[in-house]
Symmetry: C2
């Protein structure tokens, strides 16, 4: 069995490694905080009998050999970087679960056919260079020279410079790429970052799919007019048109069902004076669903509504697709292993979609993947209040442990 | 008859007195530009046989005596200050019409029973110290010591300091107040700043009322959540609630009719990230109508809709009344004089409400007032494109001239 006291000690220690003490965890990629966190983890991983190595993207691995030589590996882990003023569990919950699983495997001298590797992924959040899931993308061969040599953080430091100061050679990132078939399974435990498990009173979530994301930026243009002297029938009020779109985006998401969500989060109204009719409204639509068909249909409905509204009210618009990430299906055999193990261990589960992207989403292009969610108190994440009880992390870690052993045979 | 060539020459000359040449007229109150404009007007007013004097608020008067001693005066004029990057007609159209009327009265040696005064009001726009209709408020006894000694412009200069550099004693502003009954009528010609006259193809507008203004600032508060991981049914999206209010504000204004207008012009959405459900939306409602009952009813309907929306969606709100200016009724006898004169002079008219506040609105508390509107091309104002054909100004000036002669007997 995994031990809650060790999980607690590890998570509390990592929570203290932040550049914003008292104001949540800030541990940016390639930073001094990340280095200190890794020093702690290196020692713990070595104590768990693992052989450490690092790839050229900065991902840190702890390997335990299996009975079979040159066999594909069962890999599991998460990330250690955070957003600015984030929480103590987004990333570390998965790292410490993996570490604790490795400890138990050593303590119980469990032999597996396949080798095991726990992994600390680099720069999942993208909080520093604006390009997230970096470590997993490097393993999937999906990084560009531009982001390495041209992207800069707030201080003007390029990712290449940050990598060098981390002892990495930015010219060799491509070496991190993994060959197809070399990873038998990639498993990630992560906090849910939403309210579903808490509301259902379940111990863990077994992820069936990671939602696809479509992001649109829309501009509606009307006419700026004096709010006092322009009768209603002469107006082309960009905000009146936009407000109906905002409302309809919500309605379409609810009607689409199957966990579809849509959000207008960013809104700019110009000129923005209380006594001038709005000339232009610029806003974002973030649309997510587990199936590409549902996304396509919802996006079409939103755009058609926008077109109708604008033509009805004499407004112009610009519809721009900014991001399109397809949904990822979780490997059903891995999902079934999770279900089986959780039944054996009497852990209550909820089959669900992941509404956020994770390293596992990227890894799905090089390996069968599986994801375990543990509950987030009040659904909160990316803030200092982010919380999961240590006992809840331990239940997830226990499920991870059982699944790793089963998959590695 | 008034002469278009002189009106044109005057307006073109004033248009050139701006601190932002090539980018519209910027002629702030108590500025060097205002001083230069007044120097020109002083000469022209003297040439029109007027006796000049200035009150302690800075209002400049040009007086022509009538046959009766100590009789109430017929006063007419407008302002000479502008907004930043404003137009050449908002204010000057009324000033130059008044000047041209005085010239014609002199040329034709017209004798009136009552004395006549044209007036150049100070700081109508409030573009510099943020407190508009200053000159008329001083005449109505509605200025405060705070705005004189504490309000500052962008450079940190108080109004008191600006007044001193203009040769005025800020301690004596109260002397500008006019006794009840001392003004027989106050007439103002102004550009419409809206599209109604142009759309109706009428020469001038005769204002029947100046709308009342009610300004509300509303805050709707929900819950910030991750846009991917928070199912629709768990959200408290402040923008979804707000968007329905935006739309309903428009609907209520249209349903209220009688020229009611309502505008949501200023909107702030927080935190404002594309992947976070909006926690808070702060916005303005500007509501105007000619009758206090209509305003009251519309405001009640808006607030009730807001309450219903928020309680339905679990949102909180704050409803703040920021400004309440009651509607002003134009003196019906003056309106009738305008109608009569326009029929005699074959000037086509449209009876209408003024959707914006003007000096005449304030003067209504000390004298019967009347207002003439001349058309604004494309309804535009407070921008460099602001335009009224000189012939259109002349028609309005001709109506003003006739009405002044009739009212002064």
């Amino acid at each position: 069995m995994v031990r809650v006291d060790r999980i607690r000690k590890d998570l509390e220690f990592l929570a203290g490694i932040t550049s914003t003490p008292g104001e949540g965890v800030t541990r940016l990629a390639f930073s001094g905080e990340e280095t200190r966190a890794r020093e702690y983890l290196r020692k713990e991983m070595e104590a768990a009998g693992l052989e450490l190595y690092r790839d050229n993207a900065g991902n840190l691995f702890g390997r335990r050999e299996g009975r079979l030589k040159d066999a594909p590996v069962v890999m599991f882990g998460s990330h250690i970087d955070s957003v600015v003023h984030g929480g103590a569990f987004d990333g570390p919950a998965g790292i410490i679960s993996a570490l604790e699983a490795m400890r138990v495997i050593k303590e119980q001298s469990i032999e597996t056919s396949l080798p095991l590797e726990m992994v600390i992924m680099t720069e999942e959040e993208g909080g520093r260079f604006g390009s997230g899931v970096w470590g997993s993308r490097a393993m999937a061969g999906r990084v560009s020279r531009e982001e390495i040599f041209e992207g800069r953080d707030k201080e003007g430091i390029t990712k290449a410079e940050a990598m060098r100061s981390f002892g990495l050679d930015p010219e060799k990132v491509r070496d991190a790429e993994r060959a197809p078939g070399s990873i038998r399974a990639f498993l990630e435990l992560h906090i849910e970052q939403g309210p579903i498990l808490e509301n259902n009173g379940k111990d863990v979530g077994i992820v069936e799919s990671i939602v696809g994301i479509r992001t649109f930026f829309v501009t509606i243009r009307g006419k700026a007019d004096h709010a006092g002297t322009t009768p209603m029938e002469f107006r082309k009020d960009a905000l009146v048109g936009a407000s109906r779109v905002f409302s309809e985006v919500d309605t379409i998401a609810r009607r689409s069902g199957k966990g579809t969500v849509a959000t207008v989060g960013m809104v700019n109204v110009r000129p923005g004076a209380f006594n001038i009719v709005p000339e232009e409204v610029h806003f974002s639509i973030d649309l997510r669903a587990s199936s590409e068909e549902v996304i396509e249909k919802a996006a079409r409905e939103m755009k058609r509504f926008l077109e109708d509204q604008c033509s009805e009210q004499g407004l112009e618009f610009l519809w721009e697709e900014r991001l399109a990430v397809p949904p990822v299906n979780i490997d059903p055999t891995i999902r079934d292993v999770f279900v089986q193990v959780s039944e054996e261990k009497n852990i209550s589960t909820h089959l669900m979609a992941s509404g956020a992207g994770h390293d596992a989403m990227v890894m799905a292009s090089v390996a069968p993947v599986g994801m375990i969610f543990v509950p987030s108190r009040n659904g909160k994440s990316h803030c200092p209040e982010e919380w999961t009880d240590y006992e809840q992390v331990a239940k997830g870690a226990d499920l991870l442990l059982g699944a790793v052993i089963k998959l590695a045979g």
